[in-house]
């Protein structure tokens, strides 16, 4: 598991405090590409552009505005934003323990692991084990990168998994999605149940490989073998000698240089 954490502190409830580090649990499977200039293979840089003045804008000229109406902005400074940001915190304070089944998966945002820091191993193991047996998840508030998150801490494969949760006002209402209730026939229902039953399997995520990623990686490998990668030359060389008088004079001067050495 990754040794370096993106955050370190303690996880605590009542009188227990366990030193832990937060590490990310997923790495997006996207193959990344750099944008290059087609003519010289230079990697391209992003710049902020002002369409009004037709000019690049430097960081010291960039400020923040929230668009409240079309083309109408309320300005916000770093200091103002900071004044409403939560204090940095070194603890994940568990507020409640809940049944893991109670959390609707739609609330799950981003998964992390908590790993024990030095001195916390024993208490960590105990917490993992107790949470596994009781099937409980700890609900906590937690500040990461100036944002306060609601998180669920669960026992997973002998470790603690932490998942940030969406706030309830971020979840879009679903009442318009389901169609009006209509009568369904008992026969139809049992037929569908049967066909689902036939397809039941254990969930094995390894079975569903990311085919596009696999394809891209294989293609990259083949292409890299076929041809050396392109490089960004600064200018192209043209061969050919200089004016003959000049070359002769330089040769003569060079002869003297070599004699003198």
């Amino acid at each position: 598991m990754a040794a370096q954490g993106i955050w370190s502190g303690t996880i605590s409830f009542s009188l227990v405090a366990i030193p832990v580090r937060l590490v990310t649990a997923v790495k997006p499977g996207r193959v990344s590409f750099r944008m290059l200039h087609s003519t010289d293979y230079s990697p391209l840089a992003r710049r902020m552009f002002c369409p009004e003045e037709q000019t690049m804008v430097t960081p010291d000229e960039i400020i923040r505005g929230h668009e409240i109406l079309p083309d109408k902005y309320v300005l916000m400074t770093d200091e103002e934003l900071e004044s409403v940001s939560p204090e940095r915190s070194r603890t994940i304070e568990i507020l409640d323990f809940i049944d893991t089944k109670e959390v609707d998966p739609i609330y799950y945002d981003h998964p992390y692991y908590l790993v024990p820091s030095k001195g916390g191993e024993k208490a960590y193991q105990l917490l993992v084990e107790v949470m596994r047996r009781t099937n409980k998840a700890g609900l906590a508030k937690f500040v990461l990168a100036e944002r306060e998150y609601l998180v669920a801490v669960k026992s997973k494969d002998g470790a603690l998994a932490l998942t940030t949760l969406h706030y309830s006002d971020e979840i879009l209402p679903d009442e318009d999605l389901s169609p009006k209730k209509e009568k369904t026939e008992a026969e139809e229902e049992s037929r569908m149940k049967k066909s689902i039953k036939k397809m039941i399997e254990d969930f094995d995520p390894g079975k569903y490989a990311n085919e596009r990623r696999k394809g891209i990686m294989e293609l990259l490998e083949t292409k890299a073998k076929e041809k050396p990668p392109v490089e960004a030359p600064v200018v192209t060389d043209e061969d050919g000698e200089g004016p003959s008088d000049l070359v002769a004079a330089l040769e003569e001067s060079m002869r003297k240089v070599k004699e003198g050495r």
């Binding site: 840089a45 710049r47 690049m56 200089g242 000049l246 070359v247 004079a249 060079m254 070599k258």
Partner: protein, 301 residues
């Protein structure tokens, strides 16, 4: 954030973030950078004068992102001189001209640690006043190999009755300048001449020199980059700081000094620090003074 307002020649200049450490692993704040440029100003200003400045800005210090800025920022004070220079037949760009101390300090307040200028003045952008040989070592070659090449180059040019002047790049290489200061010289002239010189050098010292840009040709050799002799190219200005780990300076050396440094064989000793730069310039004067005035003609063109 600390701010200060200074007044130079009755012009007010507001300086910001003075305590910000822009060379964090060495420890060199914006205030110290401004102090360096104030001290070196009498020596660097003649070399910046009337040249279209390209700012190379490091707002978050040398370890973070930088960006080049050719267009003179629109938020400039009204006393900053500018010049519109046509770009390769395209639309002209308005550049800053650093002709006085207050403009120099204004540019440094924008964290433009490195000052890059073309080989021609803004009023005559197609007339180079110098020809340059940019000696760039490909690892494992270093500045010692550059010194060997520079010394051969000096003798070769001298045989053509041309005087050259050498400075450190402030990074790994050396720059040899051949002053011309003659109306009617074109970049085509300086490019043709410097390329022929680079190719002769490569022919006679194939293990030491390459005239080819391609990376694989440069390994263990000194690349004589003649292609800098172009109206679209800029060179680091003499006495400018470099944005490396330590605040080294692109600094002139006497040929005799280069010989002894080459003899000592210690690549570290070529580098000139900010404090040494001011001290030495004040003692020796501007060793590149001649580069601005000496008239020479490229023969056999």
């Amino acid at each position: 954030m600390s701010r200060a307002v200074v007044e130079i020649a009755e012009r007010r200049l507001s300086l910001s973030n003075l305590e910000k450490d822009l060379y964090p692993s060495y420890g060199f704040t914006k205030a110290q950078i401004l102090e360096y440029y104030r001290g070196i100003a009498p020596f660097i200003l003649p070399h910046l004068k009337d040249r279209a400045l390209t700012l190379k800005r490091y707002p978050e210090g040398v370890e973070k992102d930088f960006f080049f800025e050719k267009r003179c920022p629109s938020h400039r004070p009204d006393w900053v001189r500018t010049a519109a220079v046509p770009q390769n037949g395209g639309e002209p760009i308005t550049f800053c001209l650093v002709n006085d101390l207050e403009t120099l300090l204004w540019a440094e307040n924008l964290a433009s640690l490195e000052l890059h200028v073309p080989l021609a003045r803004a009023g005559s952008p197609e007339t180079p006043d110098s020809m340059v040989f940019d000696l760039d070592p490909g690892e494992p070659a270093n500045i010692l190999e550059c010194a060997r090449v520079a010394l051969i180059l000096r003798d070769l040019l001298s045989g053509m009755e041309l005087a050259g002047y050498v400075k450190t790049s402030g990074q790994k290489g050396l720059h040899v300048f051949v002053p011309l200061n003659r109306k009617g010289t074109t970049f085509e002239d300086t490019k043709t001449f410097s390329k022929a010189v680079a190719e002769i050098m490569q022919k006679h010292y194939p293990d030491l020199v390459t005239a080819k840009m391609a990376k694989q040709e440069r390994k263990g050799k000194v690349f004589i980059n003649w292609s800098q002799n172009d109206s679209s190219k800029t060179m680091i200005c003499i006495y400018s700081l470099r944005a490396r780990e330590k605040p080294f300076v692109s600094f002139p050396l006497e040929w005799g000094e280069l010989e002894s440094l080459a003899g000592l064989g210690d690549s570290e000793r070529f580098q000139v620090s900010h404090s040494e730069a001011v001290r030495r310039a004040e003692k020796m004067g501007d060793l590149f003074q001649e580069v601005l005035v000496k008239e020479q003609k490229l023969p056999h063109l």
